[in-house]
Amino acid sequence: MPNIKELEDLTTQVRRDILRMVHKVNSGHPGGSLGCAEFFVSIYKEIMERNEGFDMDGIGEDLFFLSNGHISPIYYSVLARSGYFPVEELNTFRLINSRLQGHPTTHEGLPGIRIASGSLGQGMSVALGAAQAKKLNNDDHLVYSLHGDGELQEGQNWEAIMYASAKKVDNLISTIDLNQQQIDGSTDDVLPMGSLRAKFEAFGWTVLDIEKGNDIEAVLKGMKEAKSLTGKGKPVCVLLHTVMGNGVDFMMHTHAWHGKAPNDEQLAIGLEQNVETLGDY
């Protein structure tokens, strides 16, 4: 059984990491990062089967692909705190000569990253390729991917969604961060997408909702259920209901903090609301 308290402590710590990273360089994307903290902590600490160290091919382990690369702060924080690279390196986020580029990349050789992302809508196709390579290699491990809900406005996703079920890619769990916000406003204001459940089901996927996407126990339960639904001839979609900016009260329930850094005062408030647990980098 996972120690929920430990996972919650880690979640609080990565929220601090996110705020401090973005504040230091006065740029980056805190909103979506904070909203996905529980998800990242859950899959890296409990859900995925991972090998020691990092090997690009990832044979014999589960793989994760981040499609909405702008939430790099949460990705970097959890990768560092999962042992892929030194936690102190979070200090270099978005700085010149850093491996921690504004958006994730393989180009600088940062362990844990298997594809560049940032230009939206490309991650599901890549995850599909990796999942099909696993099948060809008789590797029964899974491929996980994460996508923004606004990101689904990119057409390539729907090519991938159609392909995944047609080709029975049932070793893939694609999670949609359903925070209902994007840069210019709510997804309903910018381009209403209707029922994503109905859309994914119509495209032949098994769909699972995690209603409390910022509750670590609910995320663990949901992702375990998603895992149990793999291998049954259909790709699995998790609709992860989250609150953008979760854990920092003034950043919550708004698109305003999609890509904006807190100032000194706002940082202090955010850190006050997320007291240091495992130690700052």
Partner: protein
């Protein structure tokens, strides 16, 4: 002067198909993807022999490029197949981010490049693809000249670790390179020795350059013809050495003069050995419907055009 003859004409896309089929037998990591153009890309043999290593993507080229990138993670060597237009411009950002920037070992195999696609017209006749691809950091760009060379290039790129753009075409063209000639990425091939002018050509224009050199020889002009099958990395040394001898150069390609082989050559020469140069290429234009021969004539991409360019450049020496 060394002369070249042929006994058979074949399309370069069939050379790709034959090379891919051979890879299917010799390299278990090679996988193939196609966006609903199996017949046009001549991929049937590979598919018949290796159905489990073939992915029919449907008419979804963006998805195909992403899937290809993903397949490399797990050690596969994906060869994507579709028309040149849909292999480049349509999916530029997917190639840029998921393949080139990500450093993935994907082979982008592009048929029906240029005007010789013919009657389908300008929507399908891409004349900008070499430029698009050569601008991507780390992308290798190859445009072989006949069936044998395309087959050899297809086989050779599987052994190179990194993204490659392999460009070939639809029409039947003379087979004049040896079937057993080893393909070396980035290594120009001197076809004839000459002293008056250097002609560097790529793709379908290489045969036209040889035809031109024959006619020029009869007119008393000695042309050195070089087959530049690899536009990037370019064989700078071979070009500089040749113009050091001849003092002028004509570049020939089935591509826009903006962004093509000619510009790459001009960059090298401007930097290392400024040399009078004429360009046989399309002049910032789209194509149109017509037979390949009609189009190559109308847009000035044949032996006659090369001869005229040679006469022009000789006056500038």
């Amino acid at each position: 002067m060394k002369t070249y003859t042929y006994t058979e004409k074949k399309d370069t896309r069939s050379g790709f198909g034959a090379g891919l089929a051979e890879l299917g037998r010799t390299n278990p990591n090679v996988v193939a993807l196609c966006a609903d153009l199996i017949g046009s890309l001549k991929m049937n043999e590979f598919i018949d022999e290796n159905p489990e290593r073939f992915y029919q993507i449907g008419i979804a080229e963006a998805n195909m490029m992403g899937i290809a990138a993903g397949l490399t993670i797990g050690g596969k060597i994906p060869f994507t197949g579709t028309f040149a237009n849909f292999s480049t411009g349509r999916v530029y950002d997917q190639i840029r981010q998921s393949i080139a920037y990500s450093g993935k070992n994907v082979k982008i195999c592009a048929s029906h490049a240029g005007l010789t696609l013919g009657e389908d017209g300008a929507t399908h006749q891409i004349l900008e693809d070499i430029g698009l691809m050569k601008m991507l950091p780390g992308m290798v760009v190859i445009n072989p000249c006949d069936y044998n060379q395309t087959k050899a290039a297809t086989i050779a790129i599987a052994d190179y670790d990194g993204p490659v753009y392999l460009r070939f075409g639809r029409p039947s063209v003379p087979i004049f390179t040896p079937a057993d000639q080893k393909f070396e990425i980035g290594k120009a091939i001197q076809l004839t020795e000459g002293t008056d002018v250097t002609i560097v050509a790529t793709g379908h224009l290489v045969w036209e350059a040889l035809e031109a050199s024959k006619a020029l020889h009869e007119a008393g002009i000695s042309a050195e013809v070089i087959n530049i099958h690899t536009i990037k990395p370019l064989d700078d040394k071979a070009i500089i050495e040749s113009v050091s001898k001849t003092g002028c150069i004509v570049t020939a390609e089935e591509h826009n003069h903006l962004g093509g082989l000619g510009e790459s050559v001009a960059r090298v020469l401007a930097q290392h050995k400024p040399t009078p140069q004429e360009f046989v290429a399309t002049n910032d234009t789209f194509g149109e419907s017509g037979t390949p021969a009609q189009l190559m004539d109308k847009y000035g991409l044949n032996s006659d055009a090369i001869q005229n360019a040679v006469k022009k450049v000789l006056k500038r020496k």
